[in-house]
């Protein structure tokens, strides 16, 4: 059979999918902008980009987890843990670089623990990360005794507060993380293994994919990404708060799902996740600007999550039911 050589069919499908949510994003922006022109003000846009960056960095890691048909509920607590550990080190007058390294290390350790327990004891990811969510948050309170750590040196505050060409440094960081995340997924053996694992773990194992190692890697990546955001948040607020990141796991999972990554694993993309994260942020901002009551905002977000997943499931069913 003859087919056009340029774009492989799967990529065509993917682009279409991402185009769909991208159009939704544009529509939300346009409508909000028309109702309240403040939306398109430079300050608002910079604000949006910064908030999106914080979510996006965690969501890039979560994309790996969901692609592998897993789940990571501990990211919110990891945000808290890396922030607190870094804060503790800064207050103890560690050099900034090593303080950050310590924070990243502490957070990533939780990820390694997640992966190892899931692999060794075959406990579902939902349970394991639910457990480590409490454990990590517990350590946050043990370390901080409930009090915030501050003040921080200016060289640390630059990360979350500095700008280059009027754009926050955090935005550049998020772009770099997304790009690397995308590149690994599409261009490495590890990335391919993530897709295969999520699509069919048994078949991947039989084909010689070291599924255990890949899984541990996936949860480590997710935790590492969350740790970055934890440190950025501490830097942004000039202090480490014990409650930082609480509830973030749900926002992040929602972003990834709205971005078209399947909860059943095996299909999705970082580009989708980026658009999904933007939608989550813009939506909240739009509702504030349109004076939608705070009480209603959550309801709208909930509806959108269900609609997004509904569209994905419908699409899947149509695809798999099309041959007899």
């Amino acid at each position: 059979m003859k087919t056009d050589k340029g774009t492989p069919s799967r990529f065509r499908g993917h682009h279409f999918r991402e185009l769909g949510i991208f159009i939704s994003l544009v529509v939300i922006c346009t409508v909000t902008g028309i109702i309240n022109p403040i939306f398109f003000s430079f300050d608002n846009i910079v604000d949006l980009m910064r908030s999106t960056s914080f979510t996006l960095i965690v969501a890039v890691g979560m994309t790996y987890v969901l692609l592998s048909a897993g789940l990571d509920l501990s990211v919110g607590s990891i945000i808290g843990l890396s922030g607190i550990v870094t804060g503790w080190a800064l207050v103890a007058e560690w050099p900034v670089f090593f303080a950050i390294l310590l924070g990243l290390g502490a957070g990533t350790l939780v990820g390694l623990l997640n992966g190892s327990i899931i692999v060794k004891f075959r406990i579902p990811p939902l349970i394991v990360t639910l457990g480590t969510m409490y454990i990590a948050r517990g350590f946050v309170y043990v370390i901080s005794q409930g009090r915030p750590f501050y003040p921080f040196p200016d060289s640390f505050k630059i990360l979350g507060q500095g700008v280059i060409l009027r754009i926050p440094i955090a935005v550049y960081l998020a772009l770099i993380v997304s790009f690397i995340g995308h590149w690994i997924l599409r261009n490495t053996v590890f990335g391919r293994s993530v897709f295969a694992l999520g699509g069919n773990e048994e078949a991947s194992r039989t084909a010689g994919i070291p599924t255990k190692r890949v899984k541990i890697g996936i949860y480590a990546i997710s935790a590492f990404a969350a740790s970055i955001t934890g440190i950025l948040m501490a830097s942004r607020l000039s202090s480490s708060q014990a409650g930082a990141g609480t509830g973030w796991e749900m926002t992040v999972i929602a972003s990834v799902i709205i971005g078209g990554t399947s909860l059943f694993g095996g299909s999705g993309s970082i580009l989708g996740t980026a658009i999904g994260a933007a939608i989550m942020t813009v939506l909240t901002n739009a509702m504030v600007l349109m004076r939608v009551s705070v009480f209603w905002q959550k309801i709208v977000v909930g509806v959108i999550i269900i609609v997004a997943v509904g569209v994905d499931t419908h699409r899947r069913n149509r695809l798999s039911g099309s041959r007899g």
Binding site: P8, R10, T188, R192, A196, G199, R205, T206, G324
Partner: protein, 514 residues
């Protein structure tokens, strides 16, 4: 006149870009068994889905008439109401429910919203008897073997008092003995006036049981003939659209020395911790040899090859390659040592359905298309394309998702994957299950080409004809031990069956002596 029980008239069904059925018509009389044969993708399943109501009436053109009356099936319930019961190739049972609950799923006998458990168990026993299944209706289905579950599906279909029974590859999970039993049941039902539509790849079965045969090819009806005027060769050439001079392209080629030894492999029983499903099995393999492994379901055939491949548990046993002891604890180890395994159930662990042909083909050889962990896209494409063409996979291109391919083409991709890994020893567990004649022939051809290159093949198969025709030597497993070894020139189906049932008799004798 002779009003047919069921008539499907001028059925045309289009999918985006493909015509799955073109003006196909069939007629079914009371008490008749009509076989529908054809390669995968010929439109058999589509026709069945139309009959079962899975495709609603407005999605296709043409009419369905029952007793001469036009019917509209918009969902599976509609067709069930008209007395049509479906038995699918893929067994769908609820593992944690009891046997009786599975039989009466959705139409449990009830009164005032309460389920009449007593009546349900009583009726179950009757239906189980008809289906020839000797199990307790209170047992959970998880404890049943695959073939028992298939028979359970048949009992469930019978509970609906059907007038028309539609069976889609019903014997693919059954042993020959159980298949014979199933056909006995069909015969009995036929005498009661129940008509059956049988879809099967196994032509010998079709000839043994059906009254008429209809051949479909590429969505068109090619021929229909009564069993008395049907000839195997004509049916096969109608199916594939060309002559297949010989079904089994076996060539006698010189066989090398023994180089792969299995010593005392023991595998624990998956459900019964006190028992071993495989007890101290040893054998050797020669270079360029096709070694067949025969045995009934539950004899430990699959467990043996999975244990060798590191894909399943193994409590003891040693594997030697060229007199070197191998340490294989995962499939990854096995692949490194030049082994490849086409597993029994490709859906479970054969391929990744959401990934495309290219990604599946290279999955076991990612090292070959990467440098320091980085994929080299061009060489991946080239490799995938090479195997795609070599094995003649029928798909638009290598970017097609595996889930959308037919069983035979999925199997070819699974084979591509293992051939790309360049194995010394290729293990095939039921390699032709559920695939069409054309694809089967191509798989045999590939096997012959491989042994010519000095690759050795271990093949498990329930189809005795295939096993006998392709193997140089056959090991027969029964109840976890090797009970017979047959060379090519001495093999007969009877001899294999004799050894395959030997272990059981011995054990019974032992029990008696105790």
């Amino acid at each position: 006149m002779n009003q047919p029980l069921l008539e499907m008239k001028n059925i045309t069904k289009n999918f985006p870009g493909v015509t799955a059925l073109k003006e196909v018509g069939i007629q079914l009389q009371r008490g008749e068994i009509l076989a529908i044969v054809g390669e995968n993708g010929a439109g058999k399943s589509t026709l069945m889905k139309i009959l079962s109501g899975s495709y609603p009436a407005e999605s296709y053109n043409g009419d369905i008439l029952i007793d001469g009356e036009k019917k509209q099936f918009n969902n599976p319930h509609d067709s069930e109401t008209e007395g049509i019961a479906m038995i699918y190739q893929e067994i769908s049972t609820h593992l944690d429910l009891s046997v009786a609950e599975n039989i009466f799923l959705g139409c449990w006998p009830r009164k005032n919203g309460r389920i009449l458990w007593g009546k349900m168990y009583e009726d179950s026993v009757k239906l189980l008897n008809i289906a020839g299944l000797d199990v307790n209706p209170r047992q959970t289905v998880r404890e049943l073997s695959t073939s028992q579950q298939q028979l359970l599906c048949i009992a469930a279909a019978l509970s609906r008092n059907p007038r028309i029974l539609v069976l889609d590859e019903p014997t693919s999970a059954l042993t020959e003995k159980e298949s014979a039993r199933l056909f006995e049941i069909l015969h009995r039902l036929k005498n009661d006036g129940i008509a059956s539509l049988l879809i099967s790849h196994k032509l010998d079965e079709v000839f043994a049981i059906s009254d008429r045969i209809t051949v479909l090819r590429d969505g068109c009806k090619i021929s229909t003939c009564t069993i008395s005027e049907a000839k195997m060769e004509t049916i096969v050439s109608d199916m594939v659209g060309r002559e297949i001079s010989e079904m089994y392209p076996k060539e006698e080629i010189p066989i090398g020395d023994y180089f792969f030894n299995i010593q005392n492999v023991t595998v624990p029983h998956p459900y019964n911790p006190g028992k071993n499903i495989l007890r101290s099995v040893s054998f050797s393999l020669r270079k360029g040899e096709i070694l067949g492994i025969a045995g009934l379901v539950g004899s430990g055939r699959s467990e043996l090859v999975n244990a060798i491949f590191g894909n399943g548990p193994k409590s003891s046993g040693k594997i030697f390659l060229n007199n070197k002891l191998l340490d294989i604890s995962t499939p990854r180890d096995a692949i490194r040592h030049g082994l490849a395994l086409v597993t029994e159930d490709r859906k479970v662990d054969g391929f990744v359905g959401v990934l495309n042909v290219r990604e599946n083909t290279t999955l076991a050889s990612l090292g070959k298309i990467s440098r320091r962990g980085r994929l080299i896209k061009n060489s991946e494409k080239k490799e995938a394309d090479k195997w795609f063409k070599k094995l003649k996979v029928k798909a638009p291109d290598i970017e097609t998702i595996l889930d959308s391919l037919s069983g035979g083409n999925q199997q070819k991709v699974v084979l591509s994957k293992w051939l790309m890994s360049e194995p010394q020893i290729l293990i095939l567990d039921e390699p032709t299950r559920g695939i069409d004649v054309g694809a089967k022939y191509e798989i045999y051809r590939i096997m012959t080409n491989l042994v010519k290159k000095g690759i050795s093949i271990i093949m498990i198969s329930s189809e005795l004809q295939e096993l006998i025709s392709m193997s140089d030597r056959i090991l027969v497993l029964s109840d976890g031990v090797i009970t017979g070894e047959l060379n090519r020139d001495e093999t007969t189906p009877e001899l294999i069956m004799h050894y395959a049932t030997a272990g059981k008799q011995e054990e019974q004798e032992i029990v008696k002596n105790v």
